[in-house]
Symmetry: C3
Subunit: 470 residues, 3 copies
């Protein structure tokens, strides 16, 4: 990479991520003003409830901003920094050295979504005004470390400062939800922190399935057979609901669904539990369990969210050495129309059923997702996910779906992040993109300004409340 | 949805759907001016000839604008209004109540193509100046109903007022075409109304195939065997041509084509007629019939149009209760390159053969369709179809195809609608998008203004006349 | 097509292909200024080394600009001109007549990438100021022919004038590379002309495989068995490296890769050599050879480039009559994530391995390629290829990949052309698009101007040097 200039100014304009055309920008600013007054709703994400409950100070900037954020570490890895030097794995690196690696390679984040968020965090949380660089890395480290020791930088203070009304975590069905329970008791937590039921480990036929199911049924006090297995899932869902859960989240390989009668399903379950299932059995089991999960959502009212289409752990050696979520979960092509047909045939018009569909394959936006959401009362368009929650990609999402499905069929933005400090940055970018998208429509005389005003309120506030049943 | 403001102004600016940048808009306006003077050519659509021939007054605004337009009803359905309350099915609802449902939910059409067209129709046909809402629904109903009783709102008067030079209908091969014949005799019909040969029911191996084929061969006076079947299709095509037909339209499941020798084809036909065909036989038969239809077009000169890739009747219960075309025909991924190869190998350079390809899978634009149209003299790019005949989607189509195939390889806009009153609105939006697209090229100094002038004439008038052999 | 106006001005503005918005254009101009000062690097293309070594004058404008450029001839073919009239095939047409065909159909190139390049060449090389047309075809022919006789129009003088620092050719593994050797000795060649190892003919299991392999092993002095075959490929790669080769290029059918142990691979090789291989054997062999080619690149350091996903010779009759590269190689859908997994699992983090991925299926940009390049240190994004090296398509490429992978993971522009005179035009358009893309980011306050300056240097100069190991 061409190197950074020493002490270049950190770009973080109040007009950031707004359209270039002056008149359009004026309209966008007006719409953004409307959106900025609204609280942050985060109905899907990965901040641990324990972090909020413990409310400990973050130690240092590398541990806050670099090491746990696999969007940041993957680009450093691609640029030639081994994960071992980034604080991942068994022998943690010195955070000062990790921070130096990050600062000296700052230009690799130019133009990326991570770069935008990092700039937002550095500028708004730490009043940084220069770009990180090899020359200023140590000074920045010292400065940020001292700020992180202040009470205002504890998780609960940050949540308050960020104006986060709702924060959903993502949890294992057997999680004891103790942190959630403790938080619910506290008077000093301004944010509603709710769990999300994520059953993948118990519904995907991966190695260790039998052990996991045994633990699930044992913990649920049900039999270990097929009926007991389904009852155990229902039991845990009910427990999650008592702890405030709004949704059940399904990170499946594909969107395939399969209707089976009880006997077939029980036989399939038995094959998958024993060693003799073949690959097609495993695929069928997962497709059937996605179908059954919809049935459970119809019954108990948990919003169902699906995000298929990712090859997890593409580089097994990195997984073995540094664990999951290390930046090599890579999307592939997928479909929804034929895959979801059995599920939607049976539950697509069920009262109160809400199904939010996320994708990392943009081709499905105009081709499948918008048409499905434009017919089924249950189907909502999830916001651009993962690699796609970036300015241009979010704009493409709106342009590919609104013309077919309007504004009311979208579920609002989700930040989907483990990085607490990035939440306001992510919502800020999303709101600016929506404001710009709507301003384009107004400037091109495709929509009135009053209609754009109601649309930005729908997208930012009304839709997520309605769709996630807040 | 966030509710509409009462008596908000209905947006319908003369500058609608034009680029925001002032200089670019100026160029676009100039190009649009050129296009607006040209007549409307509608070489593919679904307005029934009987409607024009009978020339009866439309009864009320719900029956005109809501109930028959499944683009409108599907969004109301997604928003929670059962089809039974929208006048579909066996027990028709009170049109006043349907109209109220529509008006009170007006904001769900914000940003959609249907919203644009509805505004155009309300503003230009009925001089409506406020947005529909719960508050004004009844008043609007009364006002529109009284206008619909005026002679100027009869179908033939509308066709004249709209400046529609050509209107193609879409017809079953056994349709008697009596309405077309009657219209051809009339001196007071300013529009050339021509039938389109749509043989899908007789070439797709769906249940009831045998009965339909028996009716076809009986009506055609041919034998009931394979040779008679093909002869019957040729016979009916010839009859359509005598009634002015320009094209044969094929709404196939995929674009797969298959060359078979006569014996293989006859055996396959026999299996499909009897109960013992398997799914692969049915797919092979349809692929072969698409290939044979191309041969027939080469022989008789009917333009061949193809639009594959849709899962029809995704929600069977809705189909059973409310019939086909109820808003749940959902696209899926498809290909053309390998699928059409047998057809194009044999007929792709045949003299006078015109093959217009439509798609709802945008990924095929730059990847397959533009490259095919940029080589084969027979292949033309159909305009964005179905969910894609909306401003942003039409812009994406041009941007994905023109760089590879230029302007001469496109077939011009088709409105593909049953909604007579929406035809001018649809062509208007298409012309504005083309004007804006070309204005961008001029403003970005990628094309001269004179070249843009000739391009908009090509797209609006010259190409459809040439490609559809007007 | 609507006909051209006689003597219309040829559009070739200094502001060509820059954003319309005045402020954005100002920024783009500034960035372009930075890029224009840099030399042209062409690390992948098809100009024959013999052309440069022989340094003969080009005969006439049709032979220079029309006949050998299948991007031009394919559009003339689609417009109804048989290839026989374009100088292709056994009985060459009169170049005057070919030139007339081209001039009279000039408007079919409006809006196309070829049109932009042709205008650039006509304006900058030949000072043409009017659009070609039927009326001026003969005069233009005479004028261009007389210019082509000047010494400044010899290949080596053109290379110098164009500022081409590096020119890579594409060569058969058994090419004697005599022209490259001769050029390396010459003091008067300002351009470094290097060969590229293109082994497809010896690694794809197409008819004639056995003969080609026999020639390969005989020429390499190795055994004719599997071990000898692999050794022969290594021998020829080493010879190419001695002649300055930078990369090995793989035009495979799909990106599928397959790891096999030596015995399995040897047995597969034997089946493919003999007549008894089935289609799945051939696919497996090609997938395995793509995997083995990566291993060879890891060993010898040649950059590996892959461009899969094209149906070659879609119209066999045209291939038979007029040869390959006649405009009917048509892309289809493809994937990289699962296909490349075996290769990347084993070599993705290998020291010094560079793998550049090209695609003609745009859907893979954001879905697969940017995520892969954002993790693997070996993977680089190739520039938009083939039908996609056009303004809008190049802009889509940046918008789909930069947000995920930044600027450092791209390999820079390649012109991929046989048309020597089009090289500056192609690089000019690419630089303008990059300048405009970056100017948009600056104008939308998503990136600082200094960051945009370093990005355009990265894209134009630093990245290709680093990725192609110049």
């Amino acid at each position: 990479m061409t190197h950074a200039t020493a002490d270049a100014q950190l770009e973080h304009s109040p007009e950031r991520v707004l359209p270039a055309d002056p008149r359009t920008r004026g309209i966008a600013r007006e719409l953004l003003h409307e959106a900025e007054a609204l609280p942050i709703l985060s109905p899907h994400g990965h901040v641990p409830a324990e972090l909020v409950e413990a409310d400990l100070a973050f130690g240092d900037p590398a541990t806050l901003l670099v090491t746990p954020d696999h969007y940041v570490t993957r680009l450093l890895h691609a640029d030639g920094v081994p994960y071992g030097e980034l604080g991942r794995g068994d022998s943690p690196a010195d955070p000062r050295s990790v921070w130096r690696r990050f600062c000296e390679r700052w230009p690799i984040f130019d133009g990326t979504a991570s770069g935008l968020w990092l700039r937002h965090e550095l500028a708004t949380l730490f009043d940084v005004t220069v770009e990180p660089s090899a020359a200023n890395a140590d000074a920045l480290y010292a400065r940020l470390s001292s700020r992180l020791a202040e009470p205002a930088f504890r998780p609960r203070a940050l949540l308050r400062g960020f104006g986060i009304e709702l924060l959903a975590t993502t949890d294992d069905p057997l999680d004891d939800l103790a942190a959630h329970a403790a938080l619910a008791e506290r008077a000093d937590v301004p944010t509603r922190v709710v769990p999300t039921f994520r059953p993948d480990a118990y519904t995907s036929a991966a190695p260790g399935f039998t052990d996991r199911v045994d633990r699930l049924t044992a913990a649920s006090g049900t039999g270990a057979d097929h009926a007991g297995y389904l009852e155990a899932l229902r039991t845990q869902r009910a427990r999650f609901i008592r702890h405030g859960a709004l949704s059940a989240d399904h990170g499946v390989r594909t969107a395939q669904t399969l209707r089976l009668d009880t006997d077939e399903a029980a036989r399939l379950f038995d094959r998958v539990r024993r060693a003799d299932a073949v690959e097609s059995d495993r695929a069928a089991f997962e497709a059937h369990m996605l179908y059954e999960s919809a049935r459970m959502s119809v019954e108990d009212g948990l919003v169902m969210t699906i995000h298929p289409g990712v090859h997890r752990d593409h580089h097994p050696a990195t997984r073995r050495a540094f664990g999951p979520d290390t930046g090599h979960d890579i999307p592939f092509a997928l479909g929804f129309t034929r895959e979801l047909q059995p599920l939607l045939e049976d539950f697509g018009t069920a009262d109160g059923f809400h199904l939010v569909l996320y994708t990392i394959d943009e081709t499905t936006y105009s081709r499948e997702l918008a048409p499905l959401a434009g017919f089924y009362p249950s189907v909502y368009l999830g916001s651009p996910w993962w690699f796609l929650d970036a300015p241009d990609a979010m704009l493409r999402f709106r342009r590919a779906t609104v013309e077919t499905a309007g504004f009311s069929r979208t579920a609002g933005f989700v930040d989907d992040t483990r990085a607490l400090c990035s939440i306001p940055a992510r919502h800020d970018v999303a709101r600016r993109i929506d404001a710009g998208f709507l301003a384009d429509l107004v400037a091109e005389e495709r929509m009135s300004l009053p209609a754009a005003r109601r649309a930005i309120r729908t997208l930012t506030d009304e839709a997520p409340r309605r769709v996630f049943k807040l």
